[in-house]
């Protein structure tokens, strides 16, 4: 197994040590053992600069945005909009109008499903998702297809956890209006060939939303180069705060879409005989947004940019390759998700030891992993398991931490084997 991102950017141990020092939580202990945090797929830890940025906002510039003439409101508005510009640069969008701030990936996808979906789907139309999607990229499409009479079709995965472009070609017909696909599977670690899928979908006349929740912190994302119509991700999976996320959308599409939620900030004029919507991106940002979260996300992206996503990907490739090699030495362990192109995630089951028991035993060693269905029940069903254990890496993890994981797993096998 090799990972997709092959880079010549070498990372030395000293750099990783320096990165780790940026994260206060990584210096803490759990159950008297140094924390080994391998649950980055669920959420990532926050560097001091993000914590300080959020704290500084509340301490010295807290104010509502886009509506005050006073000093603090002006400062907060500038900071919020600067964060949007940082996000736009980070993902390579053409304009700030294409960067909608949401509460997270889930809200971003629901926005598209409700605004674009309800407006455009009808009986006879089809929406395609893959079998490996997170529930948040399945359920909104189930809801909108049920309401509109459209059909939801599933691109299958093979036993390595990959989709095939042939299946995609076959499933794409003139009825297909929309494709929703994850960039990097949270349950399997598979990196999907999204660029190829987008090209095929466009040729068939369908739009594409890429769920980038898992990909954003691990692989370079350039929306213009991908040519995706929508790209969704969450701040908390890229070292930013929870409760903030992004929906990128092509401007022409967003212009044509009706607002989803109504309220303050998304309107220009409100009259009882009809209101006028605000311009992009505000049309989709009803109510007071998560200002601290947005500013914190801006700081997180600046932090990632300073390190370099290529460097992050290179180090994580080394980590994942080593982890997969070492996991293979555990008696009775079966990896779940063995795609050729993978990043950051090692999911597995161990014979006679349930994932939850693995999770508890590892926790007693200070090691945090995820055990469960990873909000991807169809994936569990495909592999015939109720749950998997998942170690998910970030750039601050070390080879020594992988060794700790392996020691803990051996202990679990000894206990139950």
């Amino acid at each position: 197994m090799t990972s997709a991102v092959v880079s010549s950017v070498a990372v030395n141990a000293g750099e990783v040590t320096a990165w780790r020092a940026d994260f206060p939580i990584l210096q803490t202990q759990v159950h008297g053992k140094p924390l080994v945090y391998l649950d980055n797929g669920a959420t990532t830890q926050k560097p001091q600069v993000v914590i300080d940025t959020v704290s500084r906002y509340y301490q010295s510039t807290n104010s509502n945005i886009h509506r005050g003439v006073h000093h603090l409101s002006e400062v907060a508005t500038v900071d919020y909009e600067n964060a949007r510009a940082t996000i736009r640069r980070f993902i390579g969008a053409a304009s700030d109008k294409e960067v909608i701030l949401t509460s997270g990936t889930t809200e971003s996808i629901n926005l598209v499903a409700n605004s674009w979906g309800l407006d455009n789907l009808k009986t006879g139309d089809e929406v395609l998702v893959t079998e490996m999607e997170h529930h948040s990229n399945i359920v909104p499409w189930q809801m909108v297809t049920q309401r509109t009479g459209a059909a939801l079709k599933v691109i299958p995965i093979n036993d390595a956890g990959e989709i095939s472009l042939e299946d995609v070609r076959e499933l794409l017909t003139e009825r297909t209006k929309f494709v929703a696909i994850s960039h990097l599977s949270n349950a399997l670690g598979t990196i999907n060939p999204v660029k190829e899928v987008i090209e095929l979908a466009h040729r068939a006349g369908a739009l594409v939303l890429v769920d980038g929740a898992q990909a954003i912190a691990h692989t370079p994302v350039e929306v213009a180069e991908l040519d995706c119509d929508f790209y969704a991700f969450s701040g908390h999976k890229i070292f930013g705060p929870t409760g903030i996320g992004v929906l990128y959308g092509k401007q022409a599409l967003l212009e044509a879409m009706p607002p989803w939620q109504g309220g303050g900030d998304m309107i220009r004029i409100v009259r009882f005989d009809g209101s006028q919507w605000n311009d992009l991106p505000y049309k989709f940002e009803a109510g007071t947004p998560n200002i601290a979260g947005a500013i914190g996300l801006g700081a997180a992206l600046d932090y990632v940019t300073a390190i370099g996503i290529d460097k992050i990907a290179a180090h994580e490739t080394v980590l994942l390759d080593y982890a997969q090699q070492q996991l293979a030495t555990i008696p009775g362990l079966t990896p779940i998700g063995t795609a050729k192109h993978k990043a950051s995630i090692a999911s597995f089951v161990v014979k006679h030891v349930h994932a939850h028991d693995l999770g508890t035993i590892l926790d007693s060693e200070g090691i945090a992993i995820r055990a469960g269905h990873h909000c991807a029940m169809p994936v569990m069903e495909h592999f015939g398991v109720a749950a998997t254990a998942r170690a998910s890496f970030a750039f601050y993890n070390t080879l020594e931490e992988v060794d700790q994981l392996i020691l803990g797993l051996n202990k679990a096998v000894e206990m139950f084997g």
């Binding site: 994932a355 939850h356 508890t360 469960g372 109720a386 206990m415 139950f416």
Partner: protein, 150 residues
């Protein structure tokens, strides 16, 4: 934190060799239980004769805690009346969620089940220990909806 307090030998043993495991064809009540947190599923089968549980079996897949709890439940409930089964579940549940102190008298009343009280130190695992019991309650009292720990 001593893991052995959670995974006591009796639990490890019941997990490895679950008692009364498998489908019971001749059944008066059965129900399926589901823990949405982990996706674990269990089916509990009961044969009840004149308000007395004469046979309990279960099938499904779960963690060591939920498997051991189910396995021990099948042994403990056999021969009990429905009222006794209800009372025991009530006590066990109150102890696990911290509503009832585990004093000597309670420990006596719980009998073998007392080995499962280690989960009190692991709030996320309490539902593992109660899944089979919730399911059994659903079967005995014919709850219509799917039984869930949520």
């Amino acid at each position: 934190m001593d893991l052995r307090e959670l995974y006591q030998d009796l639990i490890v043993d019941h997990n490895k060799r679950p008692r009364n495991f498998g489908k019971l064809d001749d059944t008066t009540y059965f129900a399926e239980g589901f823990n949405p947190l982990c996706g674990d599923q269990i089916t509990v089968y009961l044969y009840v004769d004149d308000e007395q549980v004469t046979k309990v079996q279960f099938e499904g897949e779960g963690c060591a805690i939920s498997t051991a709890s189910a396995s021990m439940m099948t042994e403990i409930l056999t021969g009990k009346t429905i009222a006794e089964a209800d009372a025991l579940f009530g006590l066990f549940h109150r102890v696990l969620i911290g509503e009832k102190e585990l004093d000597d008298e309670t420990t006596d009343q719980l009998g073998k089940l007392a080995v499962l009280t280690g989960v009190r130190a692991y709030p996320s695992r309490v539902k593992c220990a109660t899944l089979a019991w919730h399911t059994c309650q659903g079967a005995l009292h014919k709850k219509q909806d799917a039984i869930s720990t949520e």
